[in-house]
Protein backbone atom coordinates (compact mmCIF):
# COMPACT_ATOMS: atom_id res chain seq x y z
CA UNK A 1 0.00 0.00 0.00
CA UNK A 2 1.04 3.58 -0.52
CA UNK A 3 1.45 5.51 2.73
CA UNK A 4 1.70 9.28 2.69
CA UNK A 5 3.64 10.81 5.58
CA UNK A 6 3.97 14.45 6.63
CA UNK A 7 6.79 16.65 7.99
CA UNK A 8 8.31 16.34 5.41
CA UNK A 9 5.67 15.14 2.96
CA UNK A 10 6.71 11.85 1.33
CA UNK A 11 5.22 8.57 0.11
CA UNK A 12 6.44 5.14 1.16
CA UNK A 13 5.39 1.66 0.05
CA UNK A 14 4.37 -0.87 2.75
CA UNK A 15 3.35 -4.46 2.13
CA UNK A 16 -0.31 -5.22 2.96
CA UNK A 17 -2.61 -6.50 4.30
CA UNK A 18 -1.87 -4.89 7.62
CA UNK A 19 -3.86 -3.54 10.55
CA UNK A 20 -3.69 0.22 11.24
CA UNK A 21 -2.29 -0.45 14.71
CA UNK A 22 0.53 -2.60 13.25
CA UNK A 23 1.28 -0.04 10.56
CA UNK A 24 1.78 2.67 13.20
CA UNK A 25 3.86 0.33 15.34
CA UNK A 26 6.08 -0.68 12.39
CA UNK A 27 6.73 3.00 11.66
CA UNK A 28 7.34 3.74 15.38
CA UNK A 29 4.51 6.28 15.41
CA UNK A 30 2.51 6.99 18.57
CA UNK A 31 -1.22 6.37 18.04
CA UNK A 32 -2.29 9.30 20.23
CA UNK A 33 -0.32 11.72 18.01
CA UNK A 34 -1.60 10.55 14.59
CA UNK A 35 -4.70 10.03 12.49
CA UNK A 36 -4.88 7.49 9.70
CA UNK A 37 -6.97 8.64 6.74
CA UNK A 38 -8.13 6.52 3.81
CA UNK A 39 -9.85 8.49 1.06
CA UNK A 40 -11.99 11.06 2.88
CA UNK A 41 -12.45 9.03 6.03
CA UNK A 42 -10.66 8.12 9.21
CA UNK A 43 -9.89 4.49 9.92
CA UNK A 44 -9.79 2.92 13.38
CA UNK A 45 -6.79 1.02 14.78
CA UNK A 46 -8.34 -2.41 14.23
CA UNK A 47 -9.08 -1.79 10.53
CA UNK A 48 -7.30 -4.02 8.01
CA UNK A 49 -5.55 -2.07 5.24
CA UNK A 50 -5.29 -3.77 1.85
CA UNK A 51 -2.23 -3.86 -0.37
CA UNK A 52 -3.82 -1.50 -2.93
CA UNK A 53 -4.99 1.09 -0.35
CA UNK A 54 -3.72 4.65 -0.33
CA UNK A 55 -3.53 5.99 3.21
CA UNK A 56 -2.30 9.18 4.82
CA UNK A 57 -0.80 9.24 8.30
CA UNK A 58 -1.40 12.75 9.57
CA UNK A 59 0.39 14.06 12.66
CA UNK A 60 -1.97 16.02 14.91
CA UNK A 61 0.44 17.72 17.28
CA UNK A 62 1.42 21.35 16.94
CA UNK A 63 3.87 23.23 19.10
CA UNK A 64 4.89 26.75 20.00
CA UNK A 65 2.65 29.40 21.52
CA UNK A 66 -1.02 29.55 20.72
CA UNK A 67 -3.45 32.45 20.71
Amino acid sequence: MKVRLCHPERDIEIKGPKRVKELLRDLSLVQEAHLVIRGDDLVTEDEMLKDDDLVEIRPVISGGERG
Partner: protein, 311 residues
Protein backbone atom coordinates in the same frame (compact mmCIF):
# COMPACT_ATOMS: atom_id res chain seq x y z
CA UNK B 1 -14.84 -1.33 15.75
CA UNK B 2 -18.46 -0.29 16.30
CA UNK B 3 -19.93 3.03 17.43
CA UNK B 4 -20.65 2.91 21.17
CA UNK B 5 -23.86 4.91 20.68
CA UNK B 6 -25.51 3.57 17.52
CA UNK B 7 -23.45 0.40 16.72
CA UNK B 8 -22.74 1.39 13.10
CA UNK B 9 -19.13 1.26 11.87
CA UNK B 10 -16.88 3.54 13.95
CA UNK B 11 -14.41 5.99 12.42
CA UNK B 12 -12.51 6.76 15.62
CA UNK B 13 -11.72 4.96 18.85
CA UNK B 14 -11.31 7.00 22.05
CA UNK B 15 -9.41 4.80 24.52
CA UNK B 16 -9.56 7.43 27.31
CA UNK B 17 -13.36 7.23 27.23
CA UNK B 18 -13.40 3.52 26.48
CA UNK B 19 -15.59 4.40 23.48
CA UNK B 20 -15.70 4.54 19.69
CA UNK B 21 -17.88 6.70 17.45
CA UNK B 22 -19.19 6.91 13.90
CA UNK B 23 -18.98 10.26 12.14
CA UNK B 24 -22.35 11.79 13.31
CA UNK B 25 -22.01 10.47 16.88
CA UNK B 26 -18.41 11.75 17.09
CA UNK B 27 -19.49 15.24 15.98
CA UNK B 28 -22.20 15.13 18.64
CA UNK B 29 -19.65 13.98 21.23
CA UNK B 30 -17.35 16.93 20.39
CA UNK B 31 -20.21 19.44 20.51
CA UNK B 32 -21.31 17.99 23.89
CA UNK B 33 -17.80 18.30 25.33
CA UNK B 34 -17.56 21.94 24.25
CA UNK B 35 -21.08 22.73 25.51
CA UNK B 36 -20.16 21.13 28.84
CA UNK B 37 -16.94 23.20 29.05
CA UNK B 38 -18.83 26.43 28.30
CA UNK B 39 -21.49 25.70 30.92
CA UNK B 40 -19.35 24.33 33.74
CA UNK B 41 -16.75 27.10 33.47
CA UNK B 42 -19.40 29.82 32.89
CA UNK B 43 -17.55 30.93 29.75
CA UNK B 44 -20.30 32.86 27.92
CA UNK B 45 -23.99 32.93 27.13
CA UNK B 46 -26.16 33.01 24.01
CA UNK B 47 -26.25 36.80 23.86
CA UNK B 48 -22.53 37.35 24.34
CA UNK B 49 -20.31 38.44 21.44
CA UNK B 50 -17.27 36.15 21.18
CA UNK B 51 -13.98 36.90 19.43
CA UNK B 52 -12.20 33.70 18.36
CA UNK B 53 -8.42 33.86 17.91
CA UNK B 54 -7.81 31.96 14.65
CA UNK B 55 -4.51 30.84 13.11
CA UNK B 56 -5.54 28.61 10.19
CA UNK B 57 -4.69 25.52 12.25
CA UNK B 58 -7.12 22.76 13.18
CA UNK B 59 -7.85 23.87 16.74
CA UNK B 60 -8.89 27.45 16.12
CA UNK B 61 -10.86 26.70 12.94
CA UNK B 62 -12.59 23.74 14.63
CA UNK B 63 -13.41 26.01 17.59
CA UNK B 64 -14.93 28.66 15.32
CA UNK B 65 -16.88 25.94 13.47
CA UNK B 66 -18.20 24.37 16.70
CA UNK B 67 -19.26 27.70 18.24
CA UNK B 68 -21.14 28.67 15.08
CA UNK B 69 -22.80 25.23 14.86
CA UNK B 70 -23.84 25.54 18.52
CA UNK B 71 -25.50 28.87 17.65
CA UNK B 72 -23.12 31.31 19.35
CA UNK B 73 -22.29 34.79 18.04
CA UNK B 74 -18.63 34.25 17.17
CA UNK B 75 -16.44 36.49 14.99
CA UNK B 76 -12.72 35.86 14.50
CA UNK B 77 -9.39 37.67 14.42
CA UNK B 78 -6.37 36.41 12.49
CA UNK B 79 -2.90 37.81 13.18
CA UNK B 80 -0.68 37.62 10.09
CA UNK B 81 2.82 37.11 11.54
CA UNK B 82 4.67 37.60 8.25
CA UNK B 83 6.40 34.19 8.29
CA UNK B 84 7.54 33.64 4.70
CA UNK B 85 5.26 31.19 2.82
CA UNK B 86 3.64 29.84 6.01
CA UNK B 87 1.64 32.97 6.91
CA UNK B 88 0.28 33.41 3.37
CA UNK B 89 -0.93 29.81 3.38
CA UNK B 90 -2.52 29.93 6.83
CA UNK B 91 -4.16 33.28 6.03
CA UNK B 92 -5.67 31.77 2.90
CA UNK B 93 -7.13 28.85 4.94
CA UNK B 94 -8.72 31.27 7.41
CA UNK B 95 -10.13 33.50 4.67
CA UNK B 96 -11.59 30.52 2.83
CA UNK B 97 -13.24 29.21 5.99
CA UNK B 98 -14.65 32.69 6.68
CA UNK B 99 -16.11 32.92 3.16
CA UNK B 100 -17.44 29.38 2.85
CA UNK B 101 -18.66 28.64 6.38
CA UNK B 102 -18.60 31.55 8.82
CA UNK B 103 -20.25 33.98 6.40
CA UNK B 104 -23.39 31.79 6.26
CA UNK B 105 -23.73 32.22 10.03
CA UNK B 106 -23.37 36.00 9.78
CA UNK B 107 -19.88 35.90 11.34
CA UNK B 108 -17.00 38.14 10.28
CA UNK B 109 -13.21 37.87 10.12
CA UNK B 110 -10.78 40.64 11.07
CA UNK B 111 -7.11 40.53 10.06
CA UNK B 112 -4.17 42.19 11.83
CA UNK B 113 -0.94 42.24 9.81
CA UNK B 114 2.18 42.39 12.00
CA UNK B 115 4.41 43.74 9.22
CA UNK B 116 2.09 46.71 8.67
CA UNK B 117 1.43 47.49 12.32
CA UNK B 118 4.76 46.62 13.95
CA UNK B 119 7.01 47.42 10.99
CA UNK B 120 8.59 43.97 10.63
CA UNK B 121 7.65 40.29 10.50
CA UNK B 122 7.91 38.01 13.53
CA UNK B 123 11.34 36.63 12.60
CA UNK B 124 12.96 40.06 12.25
CA UNK B 125 11.25 41.29 15.42
CA UNK B 126 12.48 38.36 17.52
CA UNK B 127 16.03 38.81 16.19
CA UNK B 128 15.94 42.52 17.03
CA UNK B 129 14.80 41.88 20.60
CA UNK B 130 16.92 38.72 21.07
CA UNK B 131 14.01 36.55 22.15
CA UNK B 132 12.82 33.15 20.90
CA UNK B 133 10.33 33.48 18.02
CA UNK B 134 7.55 31.58 19.85
CA UNK B 135 7.78 33.93 22.82
CA UNK B 136 7.72 37.06 20.59
CA UNK B 137 4.77 35.56 18.73
CA UNK B 138 2.95 34.89 22.02
CA UNK B 139 3.45 38.47 23.24
CA UNK B 140 2.18 39.96 19.96
CA UNK B 141 -0.82 37.64 19.67
CA UNK B 142 -1.91 38.05 23.30
CA UNK B 143 -1.62 41.84 22.97
CA UNK B 144 -3.43 42.18 19.64
CA UNK B 145 -6.23 39.72 20.50
CA UNK B 146 -6.84 41.45 23.81
CA UNK B 147 -6.76 44.89 22.19
CA UNK B 148 -9.23 43.89 19.46
CA UNK B 149 -11.59 42.26 21.97
CA UNK B 150 -11.58 45.31 24.27
CA UNK B 151 -11.72 47.97 21.55
CA UNK B 152 -14.46 46.24 19.60
CA UNK B 153 -16.54 45.53 22.72
CA UNK B 154 -16.50 41.75 22.59
CA UNK B 155 -17.71 40.10 25.80
CA UNK B 156 -15.12 37.36 25.67
CA UNK B 157 -12.12 36.13 23.70
CA UNK B 158 -11.89 32.40 22.89
CA UNK B 159 -8.72 30.50 21.98
CA UNK B 160 -8.25 27.00 20.57
CA UNK B 161 -6.12 25.67 23.47
CA UNK B 162 -6.85 21.97 23.88
CA UNK B 163 -6.21 19.32 26.52
CA UNK B 164 -2.73 18.56 25.10
CA UNK B 165 -1.74 22.25 25.14
CA UNK B 166 -2.82 22.68 28.73
CA UNK B 167 -1.34 19.40 29.98
CA UNK B 168 1.98 20.15 28.24
CA UNK B 169 2.09 23.69 29.64
CA UNK B 170 1.29 22.37 33.09
CA UNK B 171 4.07 19.78 32.82
CA UNK B 172 6.54 22.50 31.74
CA UNK B 173 5.51 24.80 34.59
CA UNK B 174 5.78 22.03 37.16
CA UNK B 175 9.11 20.71 35.86
CA UNK B 176 10.57 24.18 36.33
CA UNK B 177 8.45 24.99 39.44
CA UNK B 178 7.06 28.11 37.79
CA UNK B 179 4.23 28.21 40.32
CA UNK B 180 3.48 31.87 39.59
CA UNK B 181 2.08 30.81 36.18
CA UNK B 182 -0.22 28.10 37.54
CA UNK B 183 -3.22 30.29 38.31
CA UNK B 184 -3.32 31.43 34.66
CA UNK B 185 -3.79 27.83 33.54
CA UNK B 186 -7.52 27.67 34.07
CA UNK B 187 -9.92 27.37 31.11
CA UNK B 188 -11.74 30.60 31.99
CA UNK B 189 -9.82 33.73 32.97
CA UNK B 190 -11.98 36.67 34.11
CA UNK B 191 -11.67 40.24 32.83
CA UNK B 192 -9.98 41.02 36.14
CA UNK B 193 -9.24 44.68 35.48
CA UNK B 194 -10.38 47.34 33.01
CA UNK B 195 -8.58 46.79 29.69
CA UNK B 196 -8.41 43.01 30.01
CA UNK B 197 -10.85 40.91 28.01
CA UNK B 198 -12.24 37.74 29.55
CA UNK B 199 -10.39 34.76 28.02
CA UNK B 200 -11.76 31.25 27.63
CA UNK B 201 -10.57 27.89 26.25
CA UNK B 202 -13.68 25.94 25.22
CA UNK B 203 -11.63 23.02 23.82
CA UNK B 204 -9.87 22.14 27.09
CA UNK B 205 -11.84 18.89 27.44
CA UNK B 206 -10.77 17.62 23.99
CA UNK B 207 -7.43 16.13 22.96
CA UNK B 208 -5.49 17.38 19.97
CA UNK B 209 -6.18 14.10 18.16
CA UNK B 210 -9.94 14.43 18.75
CA UNK B 211 -9.95 17.99 17.39
CA UNK B 212 -7.93 16.98 14.32
CA UNK B 213 -10.43 14.15 13.77
CA UNK B 214 -13.33 16.60 14.07
CA UNK B 215 -11.67 18.85 11.47
CA UNK B 216 -11.11 15.96 9.04
CA UNK B 217 -14.61 14.53 9.49
CA UNK B 218 -16.26 17.93 9.07
CA UNK B 219 -14.14 18.78 6.02
CA UNK B 220 -12.48 21.77 7.64
CA UNK B 221 -9.54 22.70 5.42
CA UNK B 222 -6.75 23.64 7.87
CA UNK B 223 -2.99 24.08 7.58
CA UNK B 224 -1.43 20.69 8.35
CA UNK B 225 2.19 21.83 8.20
CA UNK B 226 3.81 22.68 11.50
CA UNK B 227 4.77 26.34 11.96
CA UNK B 228 8.46 26.41 10.89
CA UNK B 229 9.27 28.55 13.94
CA UNK B 230 8.00 25.91 16.40
CA UNK B 231 10.53 23.27 15.33
CA UNK B 232 12.36 21.89 18.36
CA UNK B 233 10.11 23.78 20.80
CA UNK B 234 9.86 22.46 24.39
CA UNK B 235 6.07 22.25 24.02
CA UNK B 236 6.48 19.62 21.29
CA UNK B 237 8.77 17.59 23.54
CA UNK B 238 6.35 17.73 26.50
CA UNK B 239 3.46 16.74 24.23
CA UNK B 240 5.44 13.81 22.86
CA UNK B 241 6.22 12.55 26.38
CA UNK B 242 2.57 12.91 27.43
CA UNK B 243 1.30 11.14 24.31
CA UNK B 244 3.62 8.20 24.94
CA UNK B 245 2.18 7.96 28.44
CA UNK B 246 -1.36 8.37 27.08
CA UNK B 247 -0.92 5.54 24.55
CA UNK B 248 0.27 3.21 27.33
CA UNK B 249 -2.19 4.47 29.91
CA UNK B 250 -5.29 6.11 28.36
CA UNK B 251 -6.69 9.02 30.36
CA UNK B 252 -3.29 10.23 31.68
CA UNK B 253 -3.55 13.70 30.13
CA UNK B 254 -7.05 14.42 31.40
CA UNK B 255 -6.28 13.07 34.87
CA UNK B 256 -3.19 15.30 34.99
CA UNK B 257 -4.85 18.54 33.81
CA UNK B 258 -8.39 18.12 35.13
CA UNK B 259 -6.97 16.87 38.44
CA UNK B 260 -4.89 20.05 38.63
CA UNK B 261 -8.01 22.16 38.02
CA UNK B 262 -9.84 20.35 40.83
CA UNK B 263 -6.91 20.93 43.22
CA UNK B 264 -6.75 24.60 42.20
CA UNK B 265 -10.42 25.12 42.94
CA UNK B 266 -10.13 23.44 46.32
CA UNK B 267 -7.02 25.24 47.46
CA UNK B 268 -7.39 28.75 46.07
CA UNK B 269 -11.03 29.47 45.31
CA UNK B 270 -11.99 31.69 42.39
CA UNK B 271 -11.37 35.10 43.89
CA UNK B 272 -7.58 34.86 44.39
CA UNK B 273 -6.63 35.68 40.81
CA UNK B 274 -9.02 38.65 40.69
CA UNK B 275 -7.52 40.07 43.86
CA UNK B 276 -3.97 39.41 42.74
CA UNK B 277 -4.55 41.02 39.32
CA UNK B 278 -6.27 44.04 40.81
CA UNK B 279 -3.43 44.74 43.20
CA UNK B 280 -0.62 44.01 40.71
CA UNK B 281 -1.85 45.51 37.44
CA UNK B 282 -1.80 49.10 36.29
CA UNK B 283 -2.32 50.75 32.86
CA UNK B 284 0.77 50.75 30.61
CA UNK B 285 2.07 54.31 30.38
CA UNK B 286 2.46 53.95 26.60
CA UNK B 287 -0.66 52.12 25.42
CA UNK B 288 -2.94 51.84 28.47
CA UNK B 289 -3.29 48.03 28.47
CA UNK B 290 -2.97 46.44 31.92
CA UNK B 291 0.56 45.46 32.97
CA UNK B 292 2.53 44.65 36.11
CA UNK B 293 5.33 46.99 34.97
CA UNK B 294 5.40 50.68 34.12
CA UNK B 295 5.46 49.83 30.39
CA UNK B 296 3.86 46.59 29.14
CA UNK B 297 5.92 43.76 27.59
CA UNK B 298 4.52 44.47 24.11
CA UNK B 299 5.46 48.18 24.16
CA UNK B 300 8.89 47.36 25.64
CA UNK B 301 9.45 44.83 22.88
CA UNK B 302 8.43 47.24 20.10
CA UNK B 303 10.63 49.99 21.59
CA UNK B 304 13.61 47.58 21.70
CA UNK B 305 12.92 46.47 18.13
CA UNK B 306 12.84 50.10 16.95
CA UNK B 307 16.07 50.91 18.81
CA UNK B 308 17.70 47.76 17.36
CA UNK B 309 16.57 48.60 13.83
CA UNK B 310 17.95 52.14 13.95
CA UNK B 311 21.35 51.22 15.52
Amino acid sequence: MRCTKCTTKAVIGLPRHNAAFCRPCFTEFVHDQVARAIKSERMFGREDRILVAVSGGKDSLALWHILLKLGYRADALYVDLGIPAYSAKSREKVQRFAETTAHDHGATLCIHTVKEAEGAGIRELSMLVHRPTCSTCGTIKRYQFNRAAVEQDYDVMATGHNLDDEAARLLGNILHWQVEYLDKQGPSLPASVEGFAKKVKPLYRLSEREIAAYAVLNRIDYIVEECPMAKGSKMLLYKDVLNRLETESPGTKQRFYWGFLDQERLSRGTSSMLEKDRSALQPCSTCGQPTTAHICSYCRMIARAKAGASS
